[in-house]
C-alpha cells in the first residue's frame, strides 16, 4: 500500500490537525459529568433489534448502565414499537422484571398495577381506596424510539433535537441494505472493564495494532505481505460518526481445524481473510474502494455502538460508561443460521476465534487507564490510520462545547 501525501487520510481533514491529542478527557471525572449531559442524555442510543419484538406483545428490557435506567421496549397491538421507562407510576418499582417475553399487560409485581402495551394504566387493585386517581396521567413514561435497518434506538431527551434519520445521516445511508436480517444466530458476552468509554471504542477503530497485538491469532489472516502494518482501505468521517474499511490477507492459508471450520460454515468467518467473496450483494458504500482484499467495515455510531459488517457475519460492541474510568461492555454477534450439524461447528469456530481475539484487544485497556490516571501519558500521538480516534476526540469536544453554549 502506498504512503504518499495524496493517500493520507488525515491530510484530507485539515481541520482535525495532525498534532498530539491531550489525554485529560480520557480520565477526568468532571469532564465525564459533562459528557453525560451533553452526549449520553442527548444522542440516539442503540437498544435492540426488531426481531426481539417480532409480534404484538413481545417485549424486552434494555438496561442502560450509565444511568441505572431500565427501558421497556414492546410492540403494540397496532404494530408500533414503543419504549417506556420501566417504572410503575404508583411507587416506582420495575413493572417488568423479565428481560424478555410476551404479554398483553405489564403487571407491577409490587401492588399489581397493570399497564397495557400502549403504556396506559389498565388496572389498579382496590382502586376505590385511592383519592382522586387520574388514570390518564399515570401512563408509563414514554421514551423516544425509532428504528433503522431493524436496529431499535432510543433517545433520553424529552423531545430529541434530531430525528434518528438526521442523527445517523450519511453513515445510516451508507450501511442501509446490508442483510442484517440474515444474522439470526445470536450470541453475546458482557462484562466490566476499568477503562474510559472512548478508549474502548477507539481501540476497535484502527488496525495498526493487528500485526503486533494479534501476532499469535489473527495477524496472518489480516496482514499479508502487501499490508504488513495493518493499513486501512478507507476511513470515512461523516457527521457524528465514522467508518473504517479493513483489509484481509487473501493469501492466508488457514490452520487445520480452522480450515475445516471455514469449509463448513453458514457464512464467511471474519478471520478467513477473504471477506466472504461468495456473498457479493453488499451495499455500494460498504467497502467503498471495492478492494478485493476487504474483510469488514467497522462503523462507529456515536457515541457508543460499533458495528462490524463482514461478508458472512456481523457483530457489535456497545460500551456504556459507568464512570470516567470504568465501563459496562457487551459484544453481540449475529451469524448466519446453521442448517446442518456441520455448520454448527463452523459457527462455533467463528465465536471462539472472535472471543479470543477480543480478549487480546481488551487486555490493553486497564493498563492504559492506569497510565492515564497517573498522567504518565499526557498526549496521544496518532498514526495516519488512527484518524478515526482523532475524529472521536474532536466529535466529543464538539458535542460538549455546543451543548454548553446552548445550555442556559
Amino acid at each position: 500500500m502506498s504512503n504518499t501525501a495524496e493517500t493520507r487520510f488525515t491530510l484530507k481533514h485539515p481541520e482535525l490537525g495532525t498534532g498530539p491529542i491531550p489525554t485529560d478527557i480520557y480520565w477526568k471525572e468532571d469532564f465525564y459529568e459533562r459528557e453525560l449531559e451533553a452526549i449520553f442524555r442527548r444522542a440516539w442510543l442503540w437498544a435492540g433489534r426488531v426481531e426481539q419484538v417480532a409480534k404484538p406483545g413481545a417485549f424486552f428490557v434494555k438496561s442502560i448502565p450509565t444511568f441505572d435506567a431500565s427501558i421497556l421496549i414492546t410492540r403494540t397491538s397496532s404494530e408500533a414499537i414503543k419504549a417506556y421507562h420501566n417504572t410503575c407510576q404508583h411507587r416506582g418499582n420495575h413493572v417488568e422484571l423479565s428481560s424478555e417475553g410476551n404479554c398483553r399487560v405489564f403487571t407491577c409485581p409490587f401492588h399489581g398495577w397493570s399497564y397495557n402495551l400502549d403504556g396506559e394504566l389498565a388496572g389498579v387493585p382496590d382502586s376505590d381506596a385511592f383519592y382522586d386517581l387520574d388514570r390518564s396521567s399515570l401512563s408509563l413514561p414514554e421514551v423516544s424510539v425509532d428504528v433503522w435497518e431493524g436496529f431499535i434506538f432510543i433517545n433520553l431527551q424529552e423531545s430529541p433535537n434530531e430525528t434518528l434519520e438526521e442523527f445517523l445521516g450519511k453513515q445510516g445511508r451508507n450501511l442501509s441494505g446490508y442483510p442484517f436480517e440474515k444474522g439470526k444466530a445470536v450470541f453475546s458476552y458482557e462484562g466490566q472493564i476499568d477503562t474510559n468509554w472512548k478508549c474502548m471504542v477507539d481501540s476497535f477503530t484502527e488496525a495498526y495494532h493487528v500485526p503486533v497485538l494479534h501476532k499469535r491469532s489473527v495477524k496472518d489472516s489480516f496482514c499479508g505481505p502487501n499490508n504488513p502494518h495493518g493499513r486501512l482501505l478507507d476511513v470515512d468521517l461523516s457527521g457524528h460518526h465514522r467508518k473504517i474499511s479493513v483489509a484481509g490477507n487473501p493469501e492466508y492459508q488457514p490452520r487445520p481445524v480452522q480450515g475445516l471450520a471455514y469449509r463448513f460454515s453458514p457464512g464467511a468467518a471474519v478471520t478467513s481473510g477473504d471477506g466472504g467473496q461468495s456473498e457479493n450483494q453488499l451495499p455500494e458504500n460498504i467497502n467503498p474502494t471495492k478492494d478485493p482484499s476487504w474483510v469488514f467495515d467497522i462503523a462507529v455510531f456515536f457515541p457508543n455502538l460499533l458495528l462490524f459488517v463482514g461478508g458472512g457475519m456481523h457483530f457489535l460492541h456497545q460500551i456504556w460508561p459507568l464512570s470516567a474510568n470504568n465501563v459496562h461492555w457487551e459484544m453481540r454477534g449475529f451469524l448466519r443460521e446453521a442448517q446442518t450439524a456441520a455448520e454448527r461447528f463452523g459457527q462455533e469456530n467463528s465465536i471462539v476465534e472472535l472471543r479470543d481475539a477480543v480478549l487480546e484487544d481488551t487486555n490493553t485497556l486497564e493498563r492504559i487507564q492506569i497510565a492515564l490516571k497517573r498522567q504518565t501519558i499526557r498526549e496521544f500521538i496518532y498514526h495516519d490510520h488512527e484518524l478515526a480516534l482523532r475524529y472521536n476526540f474532536h466529535t466529543v469536544n464538539r458535542w460538549v462545547q455546543e451543548y454548553e453554549k446552548e445550555a442556559p
Binding site: 450470541f187 499469535r216 487445520p256 481445524v257 462455533e348
Partner: protein
C-alpha cells in the same frame, strides 16, 4: 456410560465423551481453561484425523433433528472448536496477554443442537 455412544465410524472417539461432550460454550471454555496443554493436544490430535469425515457425516443431518449419536459427535466437535486456538494460536490453554474470560461471561449462548 451406555448413553455415550457415537455413530459406529467414530467409535474410537468415545473415550473423549465424558470429558468433552459438554452442553454449552461456557462449559467448553471452562474445560479448556482447566486443562493442561498436554491434555488439550491429546484431544486435538485424536479428533483432527477424523474431523473432516465427521463433518461430512454431520452435513447430512439437520440441526434440531439430530439422532443421539450424531448430537454427541457434534458436541465433541464443538469442543474441538473451543480447544483449537489453544493449539493453533497460543500453545497454551489461555489466550496469551488476554483478559480473563471469566470476567467476560456469555450472556446469550447459541443453542448447540437446534437452529
Amino acid at each position: 456410560m451406555t448413553s455415550q455412544s457415537l455413530p459406529k465410524e467414530f467409535k474410537e472417539l468415545e473415550c473423549w465423551c465424558s470429558r468433552w461432550a459438554l452442553s454449552n460454550s461456557d462449559e467448553r471454555s471452562r474445560q479448556r481453561q482447566n486443562s493442561t496443554l498436554d491434555e488439550l493436544e491429546e484431544f486435538y490430535s485424536s479428533l483432527l484425523p477424523l474431523a473432516e469425515k465427521a463433518l461430512v457425516h454431520l452435513s447430512g443431518f439437520k440441526l434440531g433433528e439430530l439422532p443421539k449419536e450424531e448430537a454427541l459427535l457434534l458436541k465433541l466437535l464443538l469442543s474441538l472448536a473451543e480447544v483449537t486456538p489453544a493449539i493453533e494460536w497460543y500453545g497454551q490453554p489461555r489466550v496469551i496477554d488476554g483478559l480473563d474470560p471469566e470476567r467476560f461471561p456469555a450472556a446469550l449462548l447459541l443453542k448447540d443442537l437446534s437452529p
